[in-house]
Amino acid sequence: MSLKDKLVSSHIVFQDSLDPDSPIYDIRGNAIKTFEAEGFPTKKDEAWKYTSLNSILKKDYNIFPTKKSSLDFKDVERYFINDIDTYNIIFVDGVFNAHLSSTTHDGIDVCTMNSALTKSKYQQVIDVYFNKIAKEESLTSLNTAYARDGAYIYIPKGKVADKPIQIIHFATGSQEAALLQPRNLIVAEENSEVQIIERHQSLSDSPTFTNSVTEVYAAKRAIVDYYKIQNDKLDASLVDTTEIEQHGESIVSVHTFSLGGNITRNNLNYYQKGERIDSILKGVTLIEGKQHVDHNTLVHHIEPNCESHQDYKGIFAESATGVFNGKVVVEKEAQKTNAYQSNNNILIDDKATINSKPQLEIFADDVRCSHGCTIGQLDESALFYLQSRGIAKKEARALLMYAFANTVLSSVKIPQLKQRITKLIAKKIGVSIGFEI
């Protein structure tokens, strides 16, 4: 039985195990129908032209998080940003782990989707925001159909989350092959602020396929900073879909650091529903071997006087492959839009590949839109400069790669996080020279 058939036929059993009075019972039922009709995306879909999921869909996944696996903090401590105080929402094989987590309901809600979907006090928020921005299509619908747990973050009007929130999904490999489908909902009401750090981490060499969907809703003047660390095992694949709706004068930034994994596909979509909105999309991809990272972005400029800033840097070594597909749509009403997009890539080896495709669809006439895409090698004269100062070639190359990625790193607002990512990058490049910032 194909994975698709298995998912479709298992859904009734899944629904039966849940409360039929759940507010999302029907949503799930409709979603599985959408998935049944559409199936998994294939290379025939324009948006998936350069990313094939075939190799990972062949595995026989366990689709229900069954047994609870326990984890000791000391075994997974290194995956936390633990030199700062944070709220933590931790899942192990798809199941919330209270022991590793630190949630709150004090002024803000930092807890689980499972609570939000089953407790009546959250129903109003769920009714208004759940599955409203997420699209009805293939993988997103599959996630909706099976949506059960994930992070639920609600920041009421005027509140500022007093510390960053870490969401970590661990996969222990206790099941042969795991299909995980986390579902996050983040609602930042007017004048609120929140910072989120998210990570998917496999702890074994068993195959893991994570199909994650996150909806972010930023009301007027809300500020949301979202950081995604993708540095997973070689058998861990991820499709990470983030749908963001912004209202007037809000600022939402998403930084994605793709440093490892099997196949990683990021769908990042912004919808601007108000004026003077700023949308920031940044990413560093640094991969080698046969790893694959695909960034598929959309910024939909719907109203006037808004901005978007995209800056994606990619470094591809050995046979690694990258995709950047950045679409910017400026509607007729969206005059005075400033939309910037840049995608710069360095191919270290001859067999590395990047497919970069900027797409601009502009229907307004008074706008400033720019896009730039470069593919090149490390700058030889810069390399010579560093070598002439006594820095060995390998370290000199590392310094240049670091400098190349720096435009993305420099806008990370949490210093300890910036430090951590800098270290991850230094480690990946294989140098130990001091990169203090």
Binding site: F384, Q387, S388, R389, G390, K393, L400, G434
Partner: protein, 250 residues
């Protein structure tokens, strides 16, 4: 210190240096002057080991040892320093971190431990005072947004930190106003000793008023066509290069 023997070098089949001979002793300052396109910058790049140039004949010796087969970093470890005409910008790496990395990489190559932090700080303080560099400057990204003068001052600061045996200053005076020129020259003069040598490469005589050379060479069409004392620089400043062209027939 430096011996260049019958050096021929070029790029992509184009000959640029056509038989350079040069002998610089410890404690000396030599200047190489010449019109644009005469091969001045090529000579400095070839001595420092830039890979895109191909040496087709001749040899370069540092303290009697050939350095031709060495990588640029190995030459740096042996004591060659090149102050660049156009220093490269490295965003995200501060001046301090860069120089720390350079010094410790050089020490590592010599089998030494990293320089202790306190010693490093003391040295940075001393050398930055010498070049009238303030602290804020040291925490900026290397050369990013630096003015022409700041870039050159930073080059000489690096030279001061690395304490080379042979310092090559490639057009260090270009883009400098008179105050910056004075500071840079003053820095270089203070770093001069009986154990090191300086090669100043310049189009104009201006810098040589401040860094007074023992020997002046004129480079034209890839060859040294005239060698003299410091007065040769003044003569060139007055008369330009054309009279020499006629004299040497190039």
């Amino acid at each position: 210190m430096l011996t260049v023997k019958n050096l021929h070098a070029g790029i992509e089949e184009k000959d640029i240096l056509k038989g350079i001979n040069l002998e610089i002793k410890a404690g000396e300052v030599h200047a190489i002057m010449g019109p644009n396109g005469s091969g001045k910058s090529t000579l400095s790049s070839v001595i420092a080991g830039k890979e895109e140039y191909e040496v087709t004949d001749g040899d370069i010796f540092l303290n009697k040892e050939s350095i031709l087969e060495m990588d640029p970093e190995e030459r740096a470890h042996e004591g060659v320093f090149l102050s660049f005409q156009y220093p490269v910008e490295i965003p995200g790496v501060t001046v301090t971190n860069f120089i720390k990395t350079a010094i410790n990489q050089t020490r590592k190559a010599k089998g030494l431990e990293d320089m202790p932090a306190s010693e490093m700080l003391k040295m940075i303080r001393e050398k930055s005072e010498l070049l009238e560099i303030d602290r804020k400057f040291l925490s900026r990204s290397l050369n990013v947004g630096f003015s022409g003068g700041e870039k050159k001052r930073n080059e000489i600061f690096q030279m001061a930190m690395l304490e080379p045996k042979l310092a090559i200053l490639d057009e260090t005076d270009s883009g400098l106003d008179i105050d910056a020129l004075r500071i840079v020259a003053n820095g270089v003069n203070k770093l001069r000793s009986e154990d090191n040598a300086v090669l100043v490469i310049t189009h104009y005589q201006r810098l040589l008023d401040y860094i007074v050379p023992d020997v002046v060479h004129v480079l034209m069409d890839g060859k040294i066509v005239k060698t003299g004392g410091k007065e040769l620089a003044h003569e060139l400043e007055e008369k330009g290069y054309d009279w020499l062209k006629e004299e040497v027939n190039v």
